[in-house]
């Protein structure tokens, strides 16, 4: 009986049903979308790597591993080993694999850059041993023929027959003979791949005809991977290892998962949490909008003899029906959202190496309970309240909409607010932030209704004068129930506060990084060093560095070379430089000793790292190079400024004998006093044309370019945060149209006594705009404060220089403007609908 009554009740108020369901759907869809996207990334990146290694039964490789960063290679091995491996019984096929840096230059002379490593290697004919499949054209058969990935082909409008240059990093003129796909994808994420024939790869990518990178082995069918690996191992010298293909693949998968994927996943989870909180507030508020009517209904049932528990049960059943149906729909909508986000990211230049969508049971197991519980909670509160109100009171219409503000809430709110402010101002690092942020937000939410009552009146007082009767109506509706107004603004407040916090944070980081970069570069010109997305592996030929150093007006120059190695057994990123005149090129804020003339055995170390390792001047550091060789270095200098250069500096002489050194990530040039920077810059640019035209910039230009590297990531983050704002605006629109529906009689009365449609419309629009502005403005203040606390917390946690507090005024102004306009837009539809209501029906509505 109760269930039938509940369902009938739901059906009778379809508009309300739709509104409530919409609120739940919006919230759960975002949660579901974030989870699906994260799972998709995880499984498809892993899947892609597994697929690409699926046919490889054994990998023969250098035994020394200096880094497990994805996209970096181990040292090379002897090419003669290929034949030795082929001779091992059980080996059906063995192919040398060469991989290194290779950047295609488009027809316009500009490198085809993207958000992923730029790789080149040898074309492998055995389809079991490579993920690449020819889409058009043929395999390369001469050293100057290449196959490129379809992503690059599309990007540069290239097809077989085209002649282009590949930078490896020296310029190699080649003819494209084929276009290949990575499995069924155009490319691996945002990366690119260029395949020479084996000779070409040895000559241009490996630059040592006697070496290959690894050997991929296919076993005779029925052979066990482990057994075969063991047998091959017996044919190999000690510094080369044979590992089962599944092991090598597993290592590669976890390397990717540990680095970039973990960051992405964490980030999506944070976003999902934000979306959830915003959605929870939105749902809760939506239910409180209908609370007035709900309360009356419950009271009527009570008056007719229903027990309190019956009334509550009925409300609960209704909420469950809405919660279950809407959450399920939201779950499904999340799939669409994830697909859309993927496309959007790709549009922003953040290509995800993913195909299809992965929907895991855990997503449903998170989204459904969360959606249902939040809905049930949000629905029960007004029902409980309704069951407490004396039936007569509720039926007379009084007491339904509570306008009094409980003093206790206000006091608790003020205490929390004060505590949040005090902790935030006192500092206390990240712990302080973790206490201040929730306390402050909770405090603001509790105090908001009283604040609106106290300040809302005077602040909106000019409105009736400016906007006449509609203004007065909007104002009256805002102030009639401060709690309702505060509730409507809450989602907006949270959304804007979070976006503001992030914007301040990003701007300050950027500013801080810019400051540091500006300080550390002592030269006037920088070549390269700003690959988009900051992918390691990019760069230009050291020959360009050498020739630039010889230009008139250049007094000192160094290439910067990333050098992954083990330092006392720990994987570290070293920088190999020309240290002879390093002090002219970098201002490292040297604390002790010297950073110039490091020679074959000297190492300069940041003061922080030295402290961590317990080193002093003269301490010995044991370095293992990618080729497996070990060497002791003496610490000759300690410095403080680590921007751009990192924590460990060695001379290129020490590096070149152990690893492929033909790639400078960037080059810094120092000019003679009185030399025109512009003149030299032009000369360097002319030189650079022969080397794929890496950008040449003065110091400020370099600082800006480094900052721009963050831009893609920042854009992705903004997209996600914008979605949180969309939830907030959707919530405002939804509650407003519900509120208009609940106020049908009021609007009808207005029309009956002579309000024009436009006046009704205007009143509702003003109402939603004001709600949005209230939310946006207070969110801005809260976000700025928390941003300030966060910046100080980071600055404190990091022994480096404190970050400047930088407010991105333009972005924030746009943000608040968008919030306000969003409020206006959110109000447009409900306002139009309310204005169209037939007067008579409105007046007659019971």
């Amino acid at each position: 009986m109760l269930i039938r009554l509940s369902l009938a009740n739901l059906w009778a108020r379809k508009r309300r049903l739709v509104g409530l369901a919409l609120a739940v759907l919006l919230g759960t869809a975002f949660l579901s979308g974030a989870l699906v996207l994260a799972d998709t990334m995880n499984s498809s990146v892993g899947g892609l790597i597994r697929d690409s290694g699926a046919g490889t039964d054994v990998v023969v490789r250098n035994a020394t591993s200096v880094t497990d960063r994805p996209g970096t290679q181990r040292g090379a091995i002897d090419a003669v080993l290929v034949d030795r491996v082929r001779a091992v019984p059980g080996v059906a096929g063995a192919e040398p694999v060469i991989q290194g840096y290779g950047q295609v230059v488009g027809k316009d002379g500009k490198a085809l850059t993207g958000n992923g490593p730029r790789m080149a290697g040898n074309w492998i004919a055995d389809p079991a041993l490579t993920p690449y499949r020819l889409a058009t054209g043929r395999a390369p058969t001469a050293p100057d023929e290449v196959v490129i990935d379809r992503g690059s082909a599309k990007q540069g409008h290239l097809r077989p027959g085209d002649r282009v240059t590949v930078l490896t990093p020296g310029p190699v003129p080649v003819t494209i003979v084929g276009v290949a796909t990575f499995g069924d994808l155009d490319a691996f994420g945002g990366g690119s791949y260029t395949a020479f024939d084996l000779d070409g790869a040895r000559r241009y990518v490996m630059r040592d005809p006697g070496k290959v990178g690894t050997i991929a082995v296919r076993a005779v069918s029925g052979t066990d991977q482990k057994d075969l690996a063991a047998r091959i191992q017996r044919a190999l010298p000690a510094d080369v290892q044979a590992v089962p293909g599944s092991v090598a693949t597993g290592e590669a998968v976890s390397a990717v998962e540990d680095s970039f994927l973990r960051v992405f996943r964490t980030f999506l989870t944070v976003f999902a949490a934000i979306a959830l909180v915003v959605a929870a507030f939105s749902i809760n508020h939506t239910f409180s909008v209908v609370a007035a009517q709900r309360t009356r209904e419950v009271a009527l049932m009570r008056a007719l003899g229903a027990s309190r528990s019956q009334a509550l049960r009925q409300a609960l059943i209704e909420a469950l029906v809405i919660g279950v149906v809407a959450s399920a729909l939201g779950l499904a909508a999340g799939l669409g959202l994830a697909a859309g986000l993927k496309e959007l990211f790709a549009g922003l230049g953040f290509e995800l190496p993913a195909r299809g969508l992965t929907f895991k049971a855990s997503t449903a197991l998170t989204v459904l309970p969360v959606g249902i519980l939040v809905t049930a909670f949000a629905a029960l509160v007004p029902a409980v309240r309704g069951s407490r109100v004396a039936p007569v009171t509720a039926l007379r219409g009084a007491g339904a909409e509570r306008t009094e503000l409980p003093r206790r809430r206000l006091i608790v709110g003020l205490v929390l607010l004060a505590a949040g402010l005090a902790v935030g101002i006192a500092g206390g690092g990240l712990v302080g932030l973790a206490i201040a942020a929730p306390a402050l937000l909770a405090g603001v939410l509790l105090v908001a209704p009283a604040g609106i009552r106290a300040a809302g009146g005077p602040l909106t007082a000019p409105l009736p004068r400016l906007r006449g009767a509609p203004g007065a109506l909007a104002r009256g509706n805002l102030l009639r129930s401060p709690r309702r107004t505060a509730g409507a603004a809450t989602a907006m407040l949270l959304g804007i506060a979070i976006v503001t916090l992030f914007a301040v944070f990003a701007a300050s980081l950027k500013e801080g990084a810019g400051d540091q970069t500006r300080k550390v570069i002592a030269g006037q010109l920088v070549i390269g060093g700003s690959s988009p997305g900051g992918w390691a592996g990019g760069g230009h030929s050291p020959e360009l560095t050498r020739r630039a150093a010889e230009l008139p007006g250049v007094v000192a120059a160094t290439g910067i070379r990333n050098a992954g190695a083990l330092v006392d057994g720990h994987s570290r990123q070293l920088l190999a430089v020309d240290s002879a005149r390093l002090d002219r090129l970098f201002d490292l804020d040297v604390k002790k000793g010297r950073v110039t003339g490091l020679g074959a055995n000297g190492m300069a170390v940041s003061a922080d790292s030295a402290k961590d390792r317990g080193w002093q001047l003269g301490s010995t550091a044991e370095v293992t190079f990618p080729d497996g060789a070990r060497q002791s270095f003496t610490v000759t200098g300690l410095y403080d400024r680590t921007a751009v250069v990192g924590d460990y500096l060695i001379d290129r002489i020490a590096w070149e004998s152990h690893a492929d050194a033909a790639l400078d990530a960037a080059t810094v040039l120092r000019l003679a006093p009185g030399t025109s920077t512009d003149t030299v810059e032009a000369a360097v640019e002319r030189l650079a044309k022969d080397y794929g035209a890496p950008p040449v910039r003065d110091r400020e230009g370099f600082v800006r370019a480094r900052a721009a590297m963050l831009q893609t990531l920042v854009a992705v983050v903004y997209v996600l945060l914008a979605l949180a704002l969309v939830i907030a605006l959707g919530g405002i629109a939804n509650t407003l149209s519900l509120a208009a529906y609940e106020r049908t009689r009021e609007l009808g009365l207005l029309r009956a006594i002579g309000a024009a449609r436009s006046q009704v419309r205007s009143a509702l629009r003003w109402e939603s705009t004001l709600v949005a502005v209230i939310g946006a403005a207070s969110g801005l203040v809260v976000g700025l404060f928390l941003g300030w606390v966060a910046i100080r917390a980071i600055g404190g946690a990091n022994t480096g220089a404190a970050l400047p507090f930088s407010v991105p005024t333009v972005q924030l102004a746009v943000l608040v403007g968008v919030g306000a306009l969003g409020g206006l837009a959110a109000g447009a539809r409900p306002a139009a609908r309310a204005a169209r209501l037939p007067v008579l029906r409105s007046v007659a509505t019971e």
Binding site: E746, L750, G754
Partner: protein
């Protein structure tokens, strides 16, 4: 009795052969059926009839809140059928004053704000002297800054009457204005309407099913089954009650009694 229009008379509002049909086919309801009637200026006219007889429909049609299926309604010399929605809105705002049975006031506005609402919707200021006089007449001087929630039902209804009067409309239309009130509060509201006619020369049209209320009017029109059934001049509650009883016996099938 089809003709109740005297061409020599001056009517504030009139209906000519008005029909209003709801629904279609089997469910068709003739809420008004060939109604012709005029409401003379400066007089207090009551429309009576059992529940469902079409009283509210007639009022709504006269106010341009509802469309007529057939015939024509006039406010003064303005024929409402030819007006656009915008013109109808202005007409209601400027030329008609409304008092409904319930839910007459906007809860977010004070009594005073409610009273001057039609004027402020028009972007006008109310004539202060006239406003004072009306407020004094309805006895609300002490209550002007209260919200509807803080007023009794009778006080709320008096605010509604004040709102209807303050714009000096050509006609005040009231639909069961005392339906929700106890008899004393109801008497106050009715006396107010009576005074408005006597002292201000206001035209009032009131729908009611209460014989006592009808007793305040100058004349009564009886509706039954959507048709004009009778007229009565200078009604008293007893005479109206007698007439209604007789009427009930005749039109036994007219529908349920009471609201």
């Amino acid at each position: 009795m089809t003709t109740t229009i005297d061409p020599t008379n001056d009517y504030a509002a009139r209906a000519e052969h008005v029909a209003r049909v709801h629904g279609e086919g089997d469910t068709v309801v003739r809420a008004l059926d060939d109604v012709t009637i005029g409401f003379p200026r400066g007089r207090f006219t009551a429309v009576m009839g059992p529940s469902g007889s079409g009283k509210s429909t007639l009022l709504h049609c006269l106010a341009g809140l509802d469309d007529v299926t057939d015939g024509a309604v006039f406010l003064g010399d303005t024929e409402l059928g030819s007006l656009t929605d915008r013109q109808l809105t202005r007409l209601r705002r400027d030329r008609i004053g409304f008092v409904f049975q319930a839910f007459n006031l906007l809860p977010t506005m004070t009594a005073l704000e409610n009273i001057v609402l039609p004027a402020s919707l028009a972007g006008r200021k109310s004539d202060p002297a006239w406003l004072d006089r009306v407020v004094a007449a309805v006895g609300l001087e002490q209550r002007l800054h209260h919200r509807p929630g803080e007023l009794s039902g009778g006080q709320q209804q008096r605010v509604a009457v004040a709102r209807a009067l303050v714009g000096r409309p050509e006609i005040v239309m009231a639909d069961e204005p005392t339906g929700n009130l106890d008899s004393r509060s109801g008497a106050e509201v009715l006396a107010l309407l009576r005074d408005a006619v006597n002292e201000l020369g206001q035209t009032v049209l009131m729908v009611t099913h209460d014989p006592v209320a009808a007793g305040y009017a100058d004349s009564v029109v009886f509706l039954a089954d959507g048709r004009i059934a009778d007229h009565m001049q200078a009604p008293t509650p007893d005479r109206v009650l007698d007439r209604m009883k007789a009427f009930d016996r005749v039109a036994a099938g007219a529908g349920a009694r009471g609201e």
